[in-house]
């Protein structure tokens, strides 16, 4: 719902109306230039669209109302997008290698595993960490924790942040990983858990299936993600640049980020 914030006593206008009214008055020159361009367009081709057309093409003649005009504008692309979708071209192994390199550059610990060996790697990392209690999201593949001896704390609706604060580690998968920036994105899908699960414990172990979950660049990742779900983009462990503009790892989020890049074993041939 749209909350009704009453305007100052007596003027009868809502703040919403006041702000939108100010916006429209402030843009009077833009609308006037568009109208001029419109007229020029309507006069026929070759008349030139005038200065307003510099920024964007004029809307089709005969549109009704400002809102419609803006929508017409929005339908075509309003920016020249001649930037690169990907910086360079890579084979799948190169893409995975770049992800590993960039993750490590921002102080994530990167590990490699084959599917069959994944449970052992996870168990080893949790043991090395000294984790006694491990948070487990819904939908985490059943065998991932098969070798883990620590107590499992399953995510549930009544699991509080305070309870999570007494958990040592969390193991999750991810939605997508971006090689060029060393970024892992969680979208709360199966095996990733609600957002606080990967936030409150001090150790996050994240499994990325490579190469299929890895894209080269940020634009590709956005295409794969649905904004309806809360998204958390993670590039290395928590950090700050607040002291003398020097980067220091480890403030409020997990101070240790382990990333396991797991490859699917070759199916047996013959």
């Amino acid at each position: 719902m749209v909350a009704a914030d009453p305007g100052p006593a007596g003027d009868g206008m809502s703040s919403r109306g006041r702000v939108l009214g100010r916006v429209r008055r402030a843009l009077a020159d833009v609308r006037a230039a568009e109208a001029a361009a419109d007229t020029a367009m309507a006069a026929g081709p070759g008349t030139g669209a005038g200065p307003a057309a510099e920024a964007e093409a004029a809307p089709p003649a005969g549109h009704a109302g400002q809102g419609d005009a803006a929508q017409d504008y929005a339908k075509r692309d309003y920016a020249v997008r001649d930037y690169l979708r990907v910086h360079g071209s890579r084979t799948a192994p190169q893409r995975v290698a770049l992800l590993a390199e960039n993750l490590a550059d921002y102080r994530a610990h990167v590990h490699h595993a084959h599917e069959a060996g994944l449970p052992a790697v996870i168990a080893r990392l949790l043991t090395e960490r000294g984790a006694h209690r491990v948070a487990v999201p819904h939908g985490l593949p059943g065998d991932w924790l098969s070798a883990v001896t620590a107590e499992r704390v399953p995510d549930s609706a009544d699991l509080t942040a305070r309870e999570l604060d007494a958990v040592d580690s969390v193991v999750t998968g991810c939605a997508v990983a971006i090689a060029e920036t060393g970024t892992i994105v969680l979208d709360t899908g199966p095996g990733q858990g609600r957002r606080h699960l990967t936030l409150v414990p001090d150790h996050h172990l994240c499994v990325v299936r490579v190469p299929e979950q890895v894209v080269d660049a940020l634009p590709q990742a956005l295409e794969l993600l649905a904004p309806q779900h809360p998204l958390t983009w993670i590039s290395g462990p928590s950090a700050t640049s607040d002291i003398e503009l020097n980067r220091v790892e480890g403030v409020h989020g997990p101070r240790t980020l382990d990333v396991v890049l797991v490859t699917v074993d070759e199916p047996p041939t013959g």
Partner: protein, 498 residues
């Protein structure tokens, strides 16, 4: 020090004009060294991070174009964003000015019955003086960003957009933590040193209890996607994630210029912002949320759309490009004036070059401080060069100087008005007019040059009065025995002379 938020009427005479405040900063050796060290550290890093992308110029142009397009259709995109946020379970509120925004947030917090809130660093809430307004209503706001924490504990003012405590070095931060943490909650650990990692650990421990018990959080947002109603917060420490995820109620105060049309547009801004801001390929954490999600994060989400002078800036055909700003602070980090004046001299939440063009547009140029801000620049253009959305800051500075000395048509709180030239420029205006007259009469110019040359032996080495501003630190140039035009006439004869 007195905090003067943008939303509050500036008490006359309370804030010194920029030149006086900046002059004091130049005498503070510690401040100068802290700022020099920090800004030079980040400059080289930013340049390297940007150089990694061969298409930076194209990204920058696209960023500017997307923002310009949005601003040209701002009413449409605001309504679209409102509808999308509402459809996703959020509540949208509109605030025409700081007082309205303060009132809305205060009421929303009161409705929860809570007396404490946690805050993510937000320029918009600083701009409107929200913490002070909440305090007046008996609500304590805890800043959770490390630098904001340093500022809050030290009863200080922020001096940088990204790193509000940039004016503090590690030893000063340690002292602030030791002295003041206990008053706000968990005290600093015994034997705290000035190692940045230890200081960060101390902040972690101090704030953890606040995060775990907070029921209400207040944030800003870096972007608001109109198409989907998605809000985006870009951060490093994880305090943002804590505030956006753990409490039951989330209130986000967002300037109306933060809206972008489409989900896809994030592909431009999420490349431009981290590299310009912290010089990283990607910042550690970016949170995106759309309304509320069942069982995950706050059950109640309020979006407060803030005008507070933005539409006044939008009405200025030259100045409106300042609303493209994505608050990266790259312009501060390269600015030689900011480096020496420090952020406090700008007397606003927005220091540095962007502050010099934003504050006088949001607040007007009526006070001595605000009228002096457009002059807080040598027009060297370093800010424009690094701006990821290509805001031509020098162009706007000159435009605002014109507003100060010539007056003219402006928009103040949504109303068109014609303002008079600012006071205190009468002598300068007369001098400029006289100079223009002379320059429009070459014979007069020549006569003047002759006079200067013939009396050159009599010129003092140091000037009195206003001229001291020059000669206190600089020798005066030696005046030549003849001007160029005299020489030309003498050696090249009468041809071509006036």
């Amino acid at each position: 020090m007195t905090r003067i938020p943008l939303g509050m009427p500036t008490p006359p005479g309370a804030a010194p004009a920029f030149p006086a405040a900046a002059a004091r900063s130049t005498q503070d050796a510690t401040l100068r060294e802290n700022l020099r060290h920090a800004t030079h550290t980040i400059r080289a890093k930013r340049a390297a991070a940007v150089a990694e992308l061969s298409d930076w110029a194209e990204l920058r142009a696209a960023g500017a174009a997307i923002k310009d397009h949005t601003l040209r259709h701002l009413d449409h995109y605001l309504e679209q964003a409102e509808a999308a946020v509402t459809a996703a379970g959020g509540q949208v509120h509109w605030a025409a000015d700081a007082a309205e925004a303060q009132a809305i947030v205060t009421r929303l917090v009161r409705d929860t019955g809570e007396r404490e809130v946690v805050k993510v660093k937000s320029m918009a809430t600083q701009e409107i003086g929200l913490n002070e307004a909440l305090a007046a209503a008996g609500i304590t706001a805890y800043e959770t960003d490390l630098a904001e924490l340093i500022v809050q504990l030290g009863n200080d003012l922020p001096s940088h957009i990204l790193v509000p405590a940039i004016h503090r070095n590690r030893a000063e931060i340690r002292d602030i933590f030791r002295e003041h943490m206990a008053r706000w909650g968990r005290p600093a650990p015994d034997g705290l040193t000035d190692e940045p990692a230890e200081l960060a650990e101390a902040a972690r421990l101090h704030l953890r209890e606040k995060f775990l018990s907070a029921k209400v959080a207040i944030s800003g947002a870096n972007f608001l996607v109109a198409e989907t109603g998605t809000l985006v917060v870009v951060e490093s420490e994880g305090n943002g994630r804590m505030c956006l995820t753990l409490p039951e109620t989330l209130i986000s105060v967002v300037g109306i210029e933060k809206v972008i049309p489409a989900w896809r547009d994030l592909e431009v801004f999420l490349q431009l912002l981290p590299r310009s801001s912290t010089a990283e390929r990607m910042n550690p954490y970016t949170s995106m949320w759309t309304g509320t999600s069942h069982g995950d994060g706050p059950a109640a989400f309020h979006l407060v759309l803030l005008d507070n002078g933005r539409t006044d800036a939008l009405a200025d055909q030259v100045g409106r490009q300042a609303l493209r700003c994505i608050r990266c602070s790259a312009c501060l980090n390269v600015c030689p004036v900011y480096e020496r004046a420090g952020g406090h001299a700008y007397g606003s939440a927005y220091p540095g070059p962007i502050g010099a063009i934003l504050t006088p547009q949001l607040r007007g140029t009526a006070s001595a401080l605000d009228a002096s801000l457009p002059y807080a620049s040598s027009l060297c253009g370093a800010c424009y060069e690094v701006c990821p959305v290509a805001i031509d800051i020098p162009e706007i500075l000159v435009r605002l100087r014109e507003r100060v000395v010539e007056g003219g048509a402006v928009t103040i709180r949504g109303t068109r008005a014609v303002i008079r030239p600012a006071k205190g420029h009468a002598a300068e205006r007369a001098a400029m007019r006289a100079a223009r007259w002379t320059f429009d009469h070459p014979r007069a110019l020549r006569a003047g040059q002759r006079l200067v040359s013939r009396t050159r032996r009599l010129h003092p080495r140091r000037l009195a009065g206003p001229g001291r501003a020059w000669s206190d630190t600089r020798e005066l140039p030696e005046v030549p025995p003849e001007s160029f035009r005299e020489w030309w006439q003498r050696t090249r004869g009468p041809q071509g002379t006036a």
